[in-house]
Amino acid sequence: MSKTDSQSRRSFLATGAGVAAAMLARPAAAGGNPANQPPNVPEWTKSLGEGVAVRPYGKPSKFEKDVVRRDVEWLTASRESSVSFTPLHELEGIITPNGLCFERHHGGIAEVDPADHRLMIHGLVERPLILTLEELKRYPRVNRIHFMECAANSGMEWRGAQLNGCQFTHGMIHCVQYTGVSLRTLLEEAGVKSNGKWLLVEGADAATMDRSLPIEKALDDCIIAYKMNGEALYPEQGYPMRLVVPGWQGNLWVKWLRRIKVGDQPWHTREETSKYTDLMPNGKARRFTWSMDAKSVITSPSPQAPIKHGKGFTIVSGLAWSGNGKVKRVDVSLDGGRNWWPARLDGPVLDKALTRFYYEFDWNGEPLLLQSRVQDETGYVQPSKAELRKIRGVNSIYHNNGIQTWHVQANGEVENVEVA
C-alpha cells in the first residue's frame, strides 16, 4: 500500500490505522481500479452475485468493515469492565444501528438464556411479581426513540483536547427505538405502597449492578425494553430486557434487568457514590446528577472524517440532544465561537432523542475552527468548555457537555483542539 503525502502525516494517522486503511479502501473519485470504471464494465456487472438467503442475517458491505465500535485500551484495567465507542463520524440521521451502539460493561456481556431469565418486583408493593420474558411481552407495549448517553461521555476532555475523533470524544451515546412495557404499568400492577419513594434496579450480569431511581421518574417515562430498532436487544445491550430511563445518565439504564425493589430511601450504591458523583473544586461532590444536559457535536467534518473534496460546497453534519426535552435550535460557528449561524434541523425532532442538524456553506479553503451549540426547549444553551470549567473545575469526570472545537486545516485534515 503506497502512502500519499497526507496519509503519512502523524495527525492524520492519529485517527487510527483502520481509518487510514478505510480511506484507501474507499478512494476518492480519482482512485480505485480504472478497469471497473466507465467506459469499462465492472466485474459485478458481468457475473451473478450471491442469491437470497445466502446471507440469512445481512451485514454491511465488506467495504464498510472499518465502521466499527472501538475502544481506548489505556482507559481501563480490563475489557470486561470497560467501554467501546460508537463511530458517530460514519453515521447519519438519528438512529444508531444495533451493532454499533456503544458498550459499557462492568462484568462482561452476560449471555442470558431468555427461558431462564426472570424479572422480580418486590419490596414496598401490595403484590410482589415475578415475570418471564414471555409474560412481560403480554403487557401493553410502547415504542419510543431515545438517546442514551454515558455520564462519562467526553470525560477524557475535561483537562483539554485529548482524543482525536468524535468517536472517542463523544461516542458513548446511541439512539434507538425501544419497544417494551411502561414501568408505570408494572408498578401499578404490583401496587406501590404510599411510602414507596425509591426503586432499586439491578442487573443479572456478573456485576449485578444496582442503582437507586426516584419513583417520580419511574412513573413518568421509564420503559422495560426488550426490543431495539425492532429486533431483540443485543446481548451487549442487555438481552433479554433492560431499563430505559429517558434523558438520564446511561448508568441507570440497567441491562439484563432482573430485579426492581421498592423502598422508602435511596440505597447509595457504589455506582451512585464512588462513581457518578461529580467532584467540584471545593472538594464537595454533587450526587444524583441524573439528567443529561443539552449537548451537540459536529460528526463530520471531524478528525476521523476529513474534508476530501477541497474547497467548494461543504456539508457540516452533526448531532444535538437534551435530556430535558426537545432540541430547539442549533447554531454553527466557523471561527471558534465568535460568530454563529443557524443550522438546519432535518428529520424528526423528538423528546430526549438525537436530532440531526446540517450547516451547508461554500468553503473557501481557509482553516476553520468549527463548533456547534444547541439550545433546548427549556432555554438551556450548551456552554463553552471554559464556562463549564469555571464552575466545575476539571476533576468532575462526568457531565462534560461543553462545546467541542474541530480545527479544519487548509488541506482538509481535522483535529481536536482547545481555543481561547
Binding site: R10, I130, G191, L200, M209, L219, T269, R270, S274
Partner: protein, 230 residues
C-alpha cells in the same frame, strides 16, 4: 419530618428542578392488578436475590467477620488487582489512601477518602466481588473482607474488631458530609438564556491545545498511556 425523609424531599425537589420534563403528577401507582400476568414470587425466590444493603443497615445479613480474618481473604482474593494495602495495581481501583486529596489537582477517590457510607462497601463487594467470581464467598467472609478494607482506610483501627449487622450500621465514614444534591438548576442558572449570542460574541480566539500533541488516540500496534477515567 425525619432527616431521611427531608433528604428525599430535597432530592425530589432538586430532581424536579434539574429535570423539568418530569411531570408533577400525583405519584400514585396503587391501581390494583389489571392484567393478572405473572405470579407472586415465593419467599425463597425473593431471599435468593434480595442482597441489597442500605446506609441504615437495612438488608444486612446475619453474620460476622474480623479484620484479621479479612486480611488473609484479601490477600487470596483481592490483592492481585487492588494491591496488598489497597494501593491498586495498574489501572485497577485504589481502595485506600487519598486522604485530603479531593481538592488537589489529582484527587484519589478511595473508600476512606470518598465513600460516604460503609454499607456501600458491603453491598458492592457482595454484588460484584471477587471480580469474575461474584458471590463465591460466604456472608462471614464478606463481613471480614469489608472489615479489612475499612481497616486499610483507618476507619476501623482494631484488628480484632468484629464487623456484623449491628456494628456495620454504626460506622461513620470520613467523607459522609462530602456530598451535595444536584444543584445545576441554581449554580448553573446562567446557562439558561433567552436568545444565544450570534455576532461578535467573544474576541478572536487562538488554538491553545491540540489532541495531536498529546497523541494518545488509539492506533493499531501502538502503546498509549494517559490519564484515564475508570
Amino acid at each position: 419530618m425525619s432527616k431521611s425523609l427531608k433528604l428525599i424531599a430535597v432530592a425530589l425537589t432538586a430532581c424536579a428542578l434539574s429535570a423539568p420534563a418530569v411531570s408533577q403528577q400525583k405519584v400514585d401507582a396503587k391501581g390494583g392488578p389489571r392484567y393478572h400476568i405473572g405470579r407472586v414470587p415465593t419467599a425463597d425466590e425473593i431471599r435468593g436475590w434480595d442482597i441489597d444493603v442500605r446506609p441504615d443497615g437495612q438488608g444486612l445479613p446475619e453474620g460476622k467477620g474480623t479484620v484479621a480474618e479479612g486480611e488473609k481473604l484479601f490477600m487470596d482474593n483481592c490483592s492481585s488487582c487492588h494491591g496488598e494495602f489497597g494501593e491498586g495495581n495498574g489501572r485497577w481501583p485504589v481502595l485506600a489512601g487519598g486522604k485530603g486529596s479531593l481538592t488537589s489537582d489529582n484527587p484519589v477517590k478511595t473508600v476512606g477518602s470518598y465513600w460516604p457510607y460503609a454499607s456501600t462497601v458491603f453491598d458492592y463487594v457482595r454484588h460484584a466481588m471477587p471480580y469474575g467470581n461474584t458471590g463465591s464467598l460466604s456472608v462471614d467472609e464478606y463481613y471480614a473482607l469489608v472489615a479489612y478494607v475499612l481497616y486499610l482506610n483507618d476507619v476501623i483501627t482494631d484488628q480484632n474488631f468484629e464487623l456484623n449487622k449491628k456494628t456495620l450500621a454504626t460506622i461513620k465514614m470520613p467523607n459522609e458530609q462530602g456530598f451535595v444534591m444536584d444543584d445545576r438548576a441554581t449554580s448553573e442558572k446562567s446557562f439558561w438564556q433567552k436568545d444565544p449570542c450570534m455576532k461578535d460574541c467573544i474576541a478572536p480566539v487562538k488554538i491553545t491545545g491540540r489532541a495531536a500533541a498529546i497523541d494518545v488516540t488509539p492506533e493499531d500496534g501502538k502503546e498509549k498511556k494517559s490519564r484515564g477515567v475508570e
